[in-house]
């Protein structure tokens, strides 16, 4: 198995001849958190316009060019990053490099295309209300990270999108897309020398400048138990997210909590799945997760029982959570979780593009050096007392957010009763932006 090479500052590559395919990405460690308050959605629109106006071409010309090369070229914006990435049939790599260079350094930012992208975004916001899980995630994030950039909308709202114009795009481009911020990742049928040459040619066109991230690491605490019901008619089922703030990868107890989460809801045999799916048949899925980013992320439990089971399911989840925090996990559970995390890491590194992707994430999320290279050794070194201390310290059963997408008339009173010591309840129409 080959290895990821760093061929220049912020340029990573792994050559592989397994398939005649090259995957690539150009990213900056700055994202939607950089949107001014009145212009939420600006960074996402910037990324879309890079893709659709590269080199002054029209969006249609670019779409025809990308498809004709046998390539994909997508944009992705999170609170902390902006990326252009895709794949291309190896023989057509030069064509994609030209498009990438034009996207990064020579976007046209055509006014009509900007307006079209804004209208498209508005339509997508309306369309997204069809998906109950998306609604649950949206309102969980907004309320959990209230007062922090992570709680704001990446896509923007009708009012903030209306406030975005071409000068705003140009200013954001100048601030975010600079030579010093560009990170490159390549995997597949190209040589390290080719990768270095491509990165140099693209970044050489970008202006110089250093932008400082405005993403604070610590979201403000949200005290008390809060219930948010996203009210949607005719629901036979509910989407439930329960959680609190989690950890930061730099925290000493991040990996211990990750091991604890694996026992609680990280696998198909974890406590949550057993109690909710296997023992009661209440939901098709029941999991907990502990994502990581450059800021303190969330801990959340996710399940989706039918409407009649929603209130007892919330009560059960709270009971499971309280027991987990009070009693911790056992030595046997610890060992199984460690084996699972260590052995399954093979599937995080089984292709060249995944290995390069982890290296890139390490850089963009500013993780400690050799974070993923030392991952399995550090998991194996975690002790039972460290896990139980991390659970007790980080998981806060009394400061908890419960988000439910369902039909409020049918569920609201029962849900309020199911959350003991409820401090605050809110009902949000699913049509709200």
């Amino acid at each position: 198995m080959s290895q990821v090479e760093q061929v220049a500052p912020r340029v990573f590559v792994e050559s592989s001849s397994a398939l005649p395919l090259v995957s690539f990405s150009v990213s900056v460690p700055l994202g939607a958190a950089e949107d001014p308050d009145g212009q939420l959605g600006l960074t996402r629109l910037l990324a879309i316009l890079l893709r659709r106006t590269a080199g002054g071409r029209t969006a249609q010309q670019l779409d025809v060019a990308v498809d004709g090369l046998g390539a994909s070229l997508a944009v992705d914006v999170t609170q902390s990053t902006l990326s252009l990435s895709g794949s291309v049939i190896a023989r057509n790599l030069p064509g994609v490099v030209e498009l990438l260079a034009d996207a990064i350094a020579r976007p046209g930012f055509d006014e009509d295309e900007l307006e079209r992208a804004k209208r498209e975004t508005l339509a997508e916001l309306v369309e997204s209300r069809d998906d109950d899980r998306t609604l649950a995630q949206r309102w969980f994030r907004r309320r959990l990270f209230q007062g922090h950039p992570a709680g704001r909308s990446v896509s923007g709202t009708p009012a903030t999108l209306a406030a975005i114009d071409r000068p705003a795009l140009l200013a954001q481009h100048a601030r975010l897309i600079t030579r010093e911020q560009l990170h490159f990742a390549f995997a597949g049928a190209l040589t390290p020398a080719q990768a270095a040459e491509i990165a140099a040619s693209v970044s050489g066109l970008a202006p110089s400048g250093e932008a400082r991230s405005s993403l604070p690491q610590e979201p403000p605490p949200q005290p008390g138990r809060r219930l948010v019901v996203v009210d949607k008619p005719e629901r036979t089922q509910t989407q439930i997210l329960i959680g609190c703030l989690g950890t930061h990868p730099h925290d000493a107890d991040h990996l211990p909590l990750l091991v604890g989460n694996t026992v609680f809801g990280g696998t198909f045999t974890a406590r949550m799945t057993r109690a909710i799916r296997s023992d009661r048949g209440w939901s098709y899925g029941a999991y907990s997760s502990l994502p990581s980013d450059r800021y303190r992320q969330s801990f959340s439990m996710w399940t989706f029982p039918r409407a009649e089971d929603a209130a007892p399911c919330v009560a059960l989840e709270l009971e499971l959570l309280e027991r987990w925090v009070a009693e911790g996990i056992s030595q046997q559970e610890l060992e199984l979780a460690q084996r699972f995390l260590v052995e399954s890491h093979a599937f995080s590194v089984d292709t060249a593009s995944k290995r390069v992707g982890l290296e890139l994430e390490q850089q963009l999320h500013q993780l400690p050096p050799r974070y993923y290279q030392s991952y399995t050794e550090r998991i194996e070194a975690v002790t039972l007392s460290e896990v139980n201390a991390a659970i007790a310290r980080r998981i806060t059963p009394e400061d908890l957010l419960v988000t439910v997408v369902g039909t409020n008339d049918r569920l609201g009173p029962e849900l309020r009763r199911a959350v003991a010591r409820l401090a605050e309840a809110e009902v949000i129409p699913y049509t709200r932006d």
Partner: protein, 456 residues
Amino acid sequence: MSAQPTPAITAVGAPPPPTLLGGVAFGDQLRVKRWRLHNGLTLLGCLDTAAPVVSYHTWFRVGSRHEQVGKTGLAHLFEHLMFRETLHLPEGEFDRKLEEIGAENNAATWLDFTQYTISAPAARLPLVIELEAERMQHLVLREPQVQGEKSVVANERRFRVEDDVEGALSELLWATAFTRHSYRWPTIGWMQDIEGFTTEDCEAFYRTYYAPNNATLVVVGDFDEAQLLSLVTDCYGHLPAAALPLEDVYPEPPQGELRRLEVTKPTLTEKLLLGYHCPALGDVDHLPLSLLGEVLFGGRASRVVQRLVLQAELATDARIFVGTFKDPGLTEIFLSAREGHTAEELLAMLDEELERVQREPVTLEELERARARAELALLTSLETTDGKASTIGFYETVLGRPAAAFERLEALAQLGPSDLLRVARRWLPRDRRTLLLVRCSTEDGPGSTEAVEEPA
């Protein structure tokens, strides 16, 4: 391990080793070899040493097409039960053992097949084979598990169908377009059928279909061939072949008329779903029809996306799926309107594009783009061992040709505008299709463009 599965060898003497039946190239660098055990079990092996992992898939040639009216969803419910108790593994042990070795483990049921997938670190292949063989022969079906899993599947149905606009529409489309063939019911089954299953139903299904001569093992990754053959012989060789039932499927009579339905859903935008009967995956027309689908709907440069989504801004989404089934299925076209626009507007403009491809040939440039997209899609699907095993298993199970993905890729180069013109005229008849129009049940339906602002 206290609950280690042990093959219950009852035959006198060791079973004979698998017979090598041949091999076929799988792309430029890999090869699929085919063996058969004396009991009819097919084994396909593809050595791929790019990473120290292995994917082990078990494909059964049974899906919802083999079910009967009143018992729909049985193949899918049974797939769920395969993760529970076996003779040598108490409840939960199957998954626990796989988690202990870091394996990824899943399953899927569709119209023509049921597929079980495990990917594991390469050194763990022996345990994976033992576990899969164990549940193929020693599954324990008890009332509590069956009842519990029925409840889980009912909840899966609420998630995928009842509370999902697209899921509900797709189910209704197939139930309207098909009147005779068993493709007319959904793989997940009708709710009343799910609720009515008994333990006896599940036992009968297991005995009937989960036999070695109704299964194919697909192994892709870094494995030792001699060890693989030895393990498969030891774990499966003693299983008896079963007398498989006659497949009792009726061909679908030609649809001679337009079928049109309107439904109301709690959505803010109108939707349009169209169904055209399409050729089976093995039909000579299937590939050109798929390529035509790419020209029309494949990516942002395609005709329908360009016109309806980007230029006219009538739709937020426009997609096509040309059914990839053993028997003739459906081509599904899905369109979602923007706020303030109607399903009728979508249909009128879509019909102009469909009539155009029936009237005049597509350009060579469009064909080239569609071919390039198809090549990219195949290559990206083959990056992992699991992706390769899925591709091999799918084409083996539906067509009997494990490398058919590459055969189709080569055949694409031979197709020209006249092929697409022919299939457009044959397979997209305006007067013999099924139309579903979705109206909004909320007050904020078409016409409402006012957004509610979130309070500060």
